[in-house]
């Protein structure tokens, strides 16, 4: 059962004219029914912004489901709507997903601290609550039909949005909505058995696909408000720098279309009639910056701190080992590279504030906007748009604060959009990390001595400033240690430490977070152990997975798919990795060949996954492909380096991502499971760099321990179609 009390969150709304609403707020007194076309979150001019409810059934049979989680490509609107529709026995073609407003009832049960999309928790978190919402509404519709027909409710059944009488009569949900709305909310309904699922587990068309194909989907930058103007920002170049002087404000104010120049401690902005004019003008500002607080000038400065921390911690070398693996691994800082630059639209009045924002953090956005506007959080309405990529970056709210401050200054709606350069150079980066391993392998090929240390900045220390830092001193850094602390290869008396360092580059949640580097470290090291002791990498893992049945099943599936033991052309080599993250296990095999000039050609990638019960298999397949491509960009060539205290890379030309021609065919297999759903959106990122690196080792004998691989001369990547 979820952390909600079901009684608290299921409350039936009354009805005026159009249908009924299952609400969730016990103190909510407004039970207005939505007019068709109004969002559950509502538009501010519709007067329904604080309407609360999980579902609304209209008399025309349309079923509108409030979605707490942000749609950033993972298919969550469709997933959560499917969960409701399954238990409701709804005709899914009549179901609409709509972004929920900010309210406690919509908090993610698996994420402490509010309405947040992250940690691959959305499906897992809302699985039980939304099943109960759907099942409760279904019981009420059946009860309404039974009253209408003067029949025994137990004799009635439902199918695709209709209640069916034993004699064959039918009543549509829309026809029953008004009656159902007058009933008391029943006690805990019976949920379907898995064998009764009609929608869950079969491929479903995503609700957001048509609008994204036709160009009508509304992203943050597509919001248009009456009288709205645009802003472009420029931050002090170095992370610790501040703005000390702007010389030519008047000159810039006279540029075409420019309406205002705003100077803040760490950024300047120009407000103009159009974004292009704003951006031309902000680039024209002559800004003097104070760099006196800049401590780290270069990436080498930061690496020295990481290395020093590890050296101070010391190694724990094995005694009497037959083989010793004593190695160091490293990853760089990485910006998220969302396709849509950071943006937010805000409108502020004396009594309220509206923000339209592609955000992963609605509650935090509301709080930040309230503070910037000088209002109470309840006076801020957050309208979540589609996200043009999230990957963790949009769990920060820096752009929300800016939009509200600028809208307040402009006294009219302002849409702030960052340039790609600002987006690349002022992110919350996946931290750089260096990790050392000292592993002793005995004559039986067992790693019976396992010591590992990781030096990395602590993301939670920065992202959750309200938590006293002593907590992390006592508990360790949970993100540094995720996927690192208890690898299936390590002995029980392993010696694993994380060391938190401060490097001043802002850090944050990046797709798979700690797993994004630890999957690379651990799965590469496992390969090293196998090779050091003369074992086949798959056979070695099989031995280690004796007490890890899910790992074992994934390993067997992915090696079967790839024909692991089959002889193949001499130039083609395989690499394998299996990693558990966010409650799921994902295994990958890469087939590649390496030319003499170190050009790598990817031929095929196989991926097997156990992520519990699958809602929409088509979306899971898409997410596996997505994480692999995202992880390949990081593995092959993505790196953010520091120069003069600022990020050197500025745009896609020097911070490149994988292209279509570099991606080989990918085959995905989803393992059957009766377990509740677990994470999907991030889990295919962690294994891929190791799978590629292990294959390059198989091909060349060169072990790559530092990302990106371009650092070791593997900068040219190609693909074949199998």
């Amino acid at each position: 059962m979820s952390s909600f009390s079901r009684r608290d969150f299921l409350k039936l709304g009354g009805t005026l004219s159009a249908g009924f609403l299952l609400g969730a707020c016990s103190s909510c007194t407004r039970h207005t029914i939505f007019a068709p076309g109004q969002g559950l979150g509502g538009e501010p001019d519709g007067g329904e912004a604080n309407m609360l409810g999980w579902i609304s059934i209209q008399t025309d049979g349309t079923i509108r489901v409030a979605i707490s989680s942000s749609e950033m490509g993972q298919g969550i609107y469709t997933n959560l709507a499917l969960i409701v529709a399954e238990e409701l026995d709804a005709d899914f073609s009549k179901v609409l997903a709509e972004p929920a407003p900010v309210n406690k009832q919509f908090n993610n049960p698996k994420m402490f601290g509010g309405q947040v999309t992250g940690g691959s928790t959305s499906t897992a978190g809302f699985w039980t609550p939304l099943r109960e919402v759907g099942a409760t509404a279904r019981v009420m519709l059946i009860t309404a039909a039974a009253k209408r027909w003067k029949a025994d409710a137990k004799s009635l059944r439902t199918e695709a949005s209709v209640v069916v009488h034993p004699d064959g009569r039918k009543l549509g949900y829309g026809e029953l909505a008004l009656d159902a709305a007058k009933l008391d909310t029943p006690s805990t309904p019976t949920l379907k058995k898995r064998s009764e699922f009609r929608l869950i587990g079969t491929p479903q068309a995503r609700l957001d696909t048509p609008s994204k194909v036709r160009g009508t989907a509304r992203f943050g930058v597509d919001i248009r408000r009456p009288n709205m103007v645009y802003a472009s920002v420029r931050h002090a170049r170095a992370f610790q720098a501040t703005i000390s002087k702007v010389e030519n404000k008047d000159q810039v104010l006279s540029m075409p279309g420019v309406l205002g120049v705003e100077v803040h401690e760490k950024w300047v902005a120009v407000i103009a009639k159009g974004w292009w004019q704003a951006n031309q003008a902000v680039k024209a500002l002559k800004v003097t910056e104070d760099n006196s607080a800049v401590r780290f000038k270069t990436t080498e400065d930061q690496r020295l701190v990481l290395t020093k921390a590890l050296t101070e911690q010391g190694k724990s070398m094995p005694k009497d080992a037959k083989h010793v693996v004593d190695v160091e691994y490293e990853v760089p800082f990485l910006e998220h590279g969302t396709m849509s630059p950071m943006n937010c639209t805000a409108e502020v009045t004396a009594t309220g504030c509206d923000v339209w924002v592609p955000t992963q953090a609605q509650t935090a956005s509301q709080e930040v906007a309230a503070q910037a506007a000088g209002l109470e959080p309840e006076q801020v309405r957050v309208h979540t748009t589609y996200l043009g990529g999230g990957f963790g970056r949009r769990s920060n709210t820096d752009f929300v604060e800016q939009a509200v401050l600028l809208a307040k200054a402009a006294k009219r709606p302002v849409q702030v959009i960052w340039s790609r350069e600002e987006t690349t150079q002022h992110g919350y980066y996946r931290p750089a990390a260096i990790s050392r391993f000292q592993i002793g392998v005995n004559a039986k090929g067992e790693a019976n001595h396992w010591a590992a240390q990781i030096a990395v900045p602590n993301i939670l220390l920065q992202q959750l400033p309200s938590v006293p830092s002593v907590v992390w001193k006592v508990a360790g850094d949970p993100i540094a240690l995720e996927g690192f602390k208890k690898p299936p290869y390590a002995s029980d008396d392993r010696d694993v430490d994380s060391i938190s360092v401060t490097l001043d580059t802002p850090i944050g949640f990046w797709r798979a977070v700690g797993h994004s580097h630890n999957g690379f470290f651990i799965e590469s090291v496992a390969d090293e152990v196998a090779h050091a002791s003369g074992q086949d990498p798959a056979a070695y893992r099989r031995t280690c997975y004796a007490d890890h049945p899910r790992h074992l099943a994934v390993l067997e599936a992915v090696t079967r798919m790839a024909n692991w033991t089959q002889k193949r052309p001499a130039e083609r080599h395989l690499g394998l990795a299996v990693h558990e993250s966010f409650g799921s296990v994902c295994g990958q095999v890469v087939e590649l060949s390496v030319a003499k000039d170190k050009t790598v050609t990817l031929h095929k990638i196989w991926c097997a996954v156990d992520c519990g019960i699958v809602i929409n298999p088509d979306s899971v397949e898409a997410q596996m492909q997505s994480g692999i491509v995202y992880g390949l960009s990081a593995a092959t060539r993505a790196i953010n380096t520091l120069k003069d205290g600022a990020i050197e890379q500025s745009n896609f030309h020097d911070y490149p991502a994988m292209q279509l021609k570099e991606i080989p065919p990918m085959q995905v297999e989803i393992l059957d499971s009766d377990n509740d759903p677990s994470g999907v959106g991030e889990i295919s990122v962690p294994p891929i760099a190791a799978a590629v690196g292990n294959a390059i080792f198989a091909a060349t004998g060169e072990r790559l321990r530092r990302l990106p691989f371009s650092h070791s001369g593997y900068g040219s990547w190609k693909a074949t179609r199998g």
Partner: protein, 169 residues
């Protein structure tokens, strides 16, 4: 200065700075928001539109360059006989976040007009838009699927580079 051109089949007049990129004229002045801003330097392709049937990156194309030319954005694509491409895109469930997809579709549409039966290598060379969600393999499938249904005799406009007229002084 007034710039006259054809937008999605209809005459359009714009009174803007001639050096304003077409992207911002379309998005901020004409409020056609399907075309997206991604990088501003012609790298990512999120802003791809057609100029006389050829895919071009509108973030790097001054609006003056389209005077008296034909511009098509995603809003006008279905009217140009490319609905089957969008249908294939939907059937293959290509989009994830969706932000780059309009640009991908515009690039694919121009490619198909010039080359109705593209090979895998043609896609390698012609589909150079970025997608950070990694929808590439489904993009391939959608293009191949639509190549089967689109008429092979589609007029191959824009095999040559367009020669925009000089903007009027």
């Amino acid at each position: 200065m007034t710039i006259d051109f054809t937008l999605n089949g209809a005459p359009q007049s714009l009174d803007v700075d001639p050096s304003m990129p077409l992207l911002w004229a379309v998005r901020d002045v004409l409020n056609l928001t399907g075309t997206k801003f991604g990088c501003g330097i012609g790298q990512c392709g999120a802003c791809t539109v057609h100029l006389n049937g050829v895919a071009l990156r509108s973030c790097s194309l001054p609006v003056a360059a389209v005077a008296n030319q034909k511009v098509t954005t995603i809003e006008g694509l279905a009217g140009e006989g490319m609905a089957a491409l969008q249908d294939a895109w939907i059937e293959q469930e290509v989009p994830q976040c969706g932000y780059c997809q309009v640009g991908q579709i515009m690039t694919a549409a121009a490619l198909l007009k010039a080359n109705p039966k593209p090979s895998e290598q043609d896609l390698d060379e012609g589909m150079n838009n970025l997608c950070r969600c990694g929808t590439y393999n489904r993009i391939r499938e959608a293009i191949h699927q639509s190549a089967k249904t689109l008429p092979a005799a589609a007029p191959a406009q824009g095999e040559a580079e367009p020669t925009p007229e000089e903007p009027a002084p």
